[in-house]
Symmetry: D2
Subunit: 477 residues, 4 copies
């Protein structure tokens, strides 16, 4: 690993992670906490949410880091893995008298004492999607236990498109879907250091990835920050017992996935921070083009803002409406978290379209940085790419490249594609919205007003509140 | 007034107001507060928000009442008039050493001691919209002072489409827009009892309004609840000094309007409660038609829910992000309040379209209730309008009529048209989103990432936070 | 019937039909043809399309009548019934050596010689939608043959929400869905005069229907024109052989339905004519309110136009891309016809929302016409509803009522609900778009460009053209 | 030029042009015509539309080439330059008795005899957009005449993002906007060979452009075809009189631009052909992932098709509704052409989003082709990227790369950004829709139905038809 961190394609993704440390120092109230284990100041990304304020502050930190990096800073999966494992291990122990919860706390203690980066690894490669893990022709399509010793277990399999895994110190592996008794060996949760024996990382390509190897700092658009995804292959990777937090309790797999996605879907509030950058870039290019006074320009900036703040508003509402699990950890509201993420699968695409609209065609036809630095061609570009008199041509080019970077290039991967698929593709949110929409309750409301049911029944409606609406109306859950 | 309350067209709007009292009794934690003036339990609608929780509980009460009535319950304008006047009178006093704030508190005390309904009257008829109040050919196009005595002032003018004014005990009149020095006589805020001399009410028609006079309870769709709007004409109506809360401080008119709309736009969370009823009705008719298993039916219910919860999520986020004014009253976040209301101008129309989609064409071609009760025709309808075997035909008709009521009929006025124009038409929200979108801050974010500005400047970005983003990041305002 | 035509609720729907005759006289090139049977000039609504120009001229006539009436003129179902029966009877005869085609031509000859109105009756009441016709508990849920004599057949059942049936002279009954051998008695197509023994009509209610009985001409919004739907109950209605065009050929039922909907879905171009009226009304009220110069007003009118012309453009493209059936009759393109209708299930709702936006809240809170004519109240309304100086208050009220009529009132039934469900609900179009989307062809295009298939295969792609793409590329079908 | 054509980044754009010749040979009825000048078979791209069928066949050829290349084939600008210059030169001659039309015909004759590629160059770099050409600080911001001799003129300036210019044999230069008398020297239209002295081309970068230099054929996504844009700098380029088709007739500049954009906006039908490829790719990846049976997958393919066919339907409707100019050339309908292009600025973005949805996250995280060909890593990828059993992993990767290519990569430039800005940015279409929307006519329709105007006036409405509606109703223009 030592040598790879300086690779120009990898460096920007490390810078983004580094920014999480910088913010913890410059704005500790936002990005740091005092560890309940060590009493030391550590990154908020390592802290399990123990209150609504904790949930909300995670969102605020996420938006801020989105603003400062314009990309994915890669630490939310690990944070939400801890968030969700905290209560799930507690509940497994309650049912099976296991000791996972204490082990997790010990592991948290260790991580806090080192203030390191922990990634989460959930998405298996899945193979034929119509088959369960144990039904796959190749059993490795989902990560599973292939051997056991007195000291621990060996796991094999592969996790696809893992965000920031190479920039982490540890990985938390978790199952990716509901499991049955026959999938018992797939019900494994554990922590491994990223340099454990048997681990291999295959780096994913991103649009325009090689531009960072061309030597300049303009054509990359965002020279300092970028995201990173890789496939992680596990070939008999050993996990000792002290780092195992679930082993065979298949009946808790879907609970874990649901808890994790509930936290993680509202974590997509980060995209409103990235959206702030893109709105700023669109406003800047409109200014450089000298067209800020046109009413349609302002109107498009308003629309971009309206959509962007909707992502923020619904995400933070999910956190504010959070509630305590039996473990004491707080979890955000499932319905609103899914609503937030579902908007994230739509609005960044529209914001991106509007940014390109404001940018003009040059966003995709701009000559190269090398041409700009060429003595003759550069002079022509300097002359002919001039917009407003007081704006340096290079500044105009830089903003155009930033917009290209975020809508077509390297950071479009995070702002668009990851917005679609991270924390579950659009249909995954629809399934959970469907599950929580409480049609029985709503149908009663309608039947009473339509005169089908009597007034007496009507008063019961409130009493029957459960799930989402219980929280909406502050009833006991 | 005594005689009009039993008019079948007016009765449903009174029932909706009555529901606010019923809920205060059945669920006091949601719909009642202890008056800080009297120590008695009073309606939450009379209570000025003194904390974020107060703001949030107003939203939760609103959603609940939307669910229970399926219409506008008409008390939010008065509530938000108190919310906003509380801080504005305080700030006028600070600047001009006037005594409005104490007067307002005295008036609140009086209202609390009677636990009555107070309406707000803001929207003037406006005349030629390109002219200021004092420029109008007819000076009465905006409510203004026409005479003064030692005891008080006389006002004339008219307020258009006033929600629930006839169901109120008192009206709070307020200016509707930014005023200049020449509009000084228009800068009047005061309270009048609804039966004051010189007041006339001209009832607005609603779609299908006369159905409630036909004698049945099916074709009306929602027999019990409805909304109400009227034009209120002021012909030399007297306001004594003790009920005057602004008189000539024209420079505070726009502040009052902005504070009011900030509160009132997030109050449109009520429409998510009405949306719950319509989603329930759509789910019920799909069940009665025997088509619940079709994937597109479920998918449409999910979409309706997604949109409906977005209204709720953004509205409640505005309340949760509220902050204290110098008076001690809490106000919700302006950006998110406008985002909430702006969604309200769009999503109920789409939810309504989807409800009609699930209902089938019968929602607009159903024969009349009288035909259904006719001995021969009724038998034909009983036979031919039969859907699923175990569902009474009358139930199917009732749900169809409820959907008609909410998408084309009387309550479509509240769910659709009022959602567009109440608390300001769509463009009014866009203007305020534009004002708060902090492009300077966002452009800096973009310039730093594009490499136009140096790292050093970058750290300053956080320091410069103000307005919306200061609240997002919990910085001091 | 004689007495009902003068009922104020029915009269507007008759006026709309009458307009089809007036246009045939004033603009015969648009709304009339020379009958191939009689050589006389007759309504284009009775003419089977024998060329692409015929198909296109039907669309142009439809848009024009939408513009002149602002409502549904109720003759397109009959027109498209003839359009589709012409080829289907021909093809039944080809397969079964029956004589339906000549019978249909004889019937057309008769209708042409009288130049009368012929309605089509397709939609059965359907009962439990999860069961086939012969499986229903009550066999009458779909119209079927209940008896046979030497002279003809007796049918029973009911057709729901039949547009303009009472304003027709004859009805063409047709099955509403795919049938199987066990549904043989449901495979009946025939013509009956509207006053045939055993027929009963149950009039559907429309939003605000009774306003036309209040005596004025303002509150109705569109005093002259309206739509009409009724349930038609058949109780042993006799059809003699010469008026039977299908009897038992169940295997042709789905073909008939598909042909009919192909014609009828592009017939929804009429709604672009209605949309023209609503856009005009929105532009007029913006003018009366004095706000035409605001950029967002113009922008909304542009958006309304863009959506409205999309309906027209896709509909007329379906007609222009029409092709000959073996009978010689021309049929429009199925894909584009479905695309047109699918837009009709969405865009009128958005156009309607924008019209209400431009209208302002008064569209739903306007006092009644009776108040306006009241000596005292009228004077107040005259004073306070004044907008721009040179616009009579009554004109402003009339345009507001027209917008109410089209977005919430009586003609909203046609412009919104019928746009959703007429000629098949949204999902019905999606099913046919799915059927015609030729994924095999498109996947080959992708595989060739992705380098999965060789160049050689590539050239074959064109040769394999069929269905929709064959027509797109003018290949022989 | 000789050496550049084999550059791996340029080659794909030449292949796309070459495809226009191949199609002319394999399907001459679609892509070739008989030259009216030479009697020889030539490319349809060189043929001026002399009938509605000509207009329609241009669209059909465009869709087909979009399907076969998945990119921009770069010849439509030149085609539409000829289309529009044909009538504009005719009308200049009519007014000023000049001889441009014959010169243009002679030039067409020459081009036909060589069957070469002619590009159009319209978009100037524009400088400060708030200033007219003659007001710019640097007069070269718009191409203009800098010198005159007896033989011709010398022009200087630069044309931005010129599609396919390097792949053309000749360029037609045209002004880009309305001009005034002071801009007379900017009113120049003429033809120059692409290798004329004084011409310089600065190649535009595209997303992922350098992937074609990496040696493989997978990661490029579409190895064979791509688009191309360049800035063309004119430094005293000479144009002899015989190739000048406008010189100083500034009053015809805006007519030329409007005619050109009318033709060119409906030419964006090509994107429906590109959309066919992307829909095919999305369907293929759904198949390879084994998820074709999920209802939401099919539903998304239907939605993509619905949107894609709307582009086609409105574009072809514009052509079908075309009409003759006085020169005899046919021009498409302006309203529908703008509606078509306006959809193109929206729908490809949504189709692209849905394609990424169906693709799954792998579309943006797929490891590189080099890793796939690596002996060890390749084996891991072969194992873990396996989807459905019978689908080769390489095929899955290829389709994913094609989707990346079209939604984020090189051909996203053409499918997304060029769709936004080519032939005018979105606002340019809105301006022309506004100009053609005939509000006066529509307001009359509304006033008549609202009862504001009498029946008598009403009949006049039809008589007053002009512009768009005259064509809709086949009235004489």
């Amino acid at each position: 690993m030592e040598e790879s961190v300086d690779h120009p394609m990898i460096r920007p993704s490390i810078n983004a992670v580094a920014k999480t440390y910088e913010l913890a120092i410059s704005h500790p109230e936002l990005a740091a906490v005092t560890s309940p284990f060590t009493g030391e100041r550590i990154s908020r990304f390592l802290h399990v949410s123990m209150s609504r304020d904790d949930l909300v502050l995670q969102n605020k930190m996420q938006r801020r880091l989105g603003q400062l990096t314009g990309t994915c800073f890669q630490r939310c999966v690990g944070m939400d893995a801890f968030n969700s494992l905290y209560s799930v291990t507690y509940e497994i122990d309650e049912k099976y008298a296991t000791g996972y919860h204490q082990r997790l706390k010990d592991f948290l203690h260790l991580m806090h004492s080192q203030n390191v980066v922990v990634g989460g690894a959930m998405t298996d490669v899945k193979g034929d999607r119509s088959l369960a893990p144990h039904q796959q022709a190749d059993p490795d399509m989902f990560l599973h236990i292939v051997d056991r010793t007195e000291e621990g277990v060996y796991v094999s399999g592969a996790k696809a498109h893992q965000t920031g895994c190479i920039n982490s110190h540890w990985l938390l592996v978790m199952p990716t879907m509901r499991l049955t008794e026959q999938d018992k060996d797939y019900a494994i949760v554990g922590a491994v250091p990223v340099d454990a024996e048997g681990l291999a990382y295959i780096y994913g390509r991103q649009s325009c990835d090689t531009r960072s190897m061309e030597g300049g700092d303009m054509d990359v658009g965002n020279a300092k920050f970028g995201g990173q995804e890789a496939m992680v292959v596990f070939d008999r990777v050993f996990i000792p017992h002290r780092y195992i937090f679930m082993d065979g309790e298949y009946d808790f797999a879907s609970l874990l996935v649901e808890r994790f996605t509930t936290y993680h879907r509202r974590s997509y509030v980060c995209k409103s921070g990235v959206g702030d950058v893109l709105i700023g870039a669109a406003a800047a290019i409109a200014e450089y083009n000298g067209i800020t006074k046109a009413s349609h320009i302002k109107d498009k900036l308003v629309e971009m803002t309206h959509l962007n703040e909707t992502v923020y508003g619904t995400g933070i509402a999910a956190s504010y409406q959070g509630y305590a699990t039996s473990s004491g950890a707080y979890i955000s509201d499932e319905m609103l978290a899914n609503v937030c993420k579902h908007h994230v699968t739509r609005f960044p695409f529209e914001i991106s379209r509007l940014a390109q609209d404001l940018a003009g065609g040059l966003v995709a036809t701009l000559p190269s940085e090398k041409d700009y630095h060429h003595p003759e061609i550069g002079a022509l570009l300097e002359k002919y790419l001039k917009g407003k008199a007081d704006v340096p041509t290079a500044d105009r080019m830089r903003i155009l490249r930033l917009i290209e970077n975020m809508t077509l290039g390297r950071n479009a991967v995070g702002y668009l594609t990851e917005s679609l698929h991270g924390a579950g593709s659009p249909q995954a949110q629809r399934i959970l919205i469907a599950r929580g929409m409480q049609l029985a309750y709503k149908k009663r409301l309608a039947r009473v007003l339509a005169g089908i049911e009597t007034e007496e029944n009507k008063e019961e409606v409130m009493e029957e509140l459960s799930g989402y609406f219980a929280r909406v109306f502050n009833e006991e859950v």
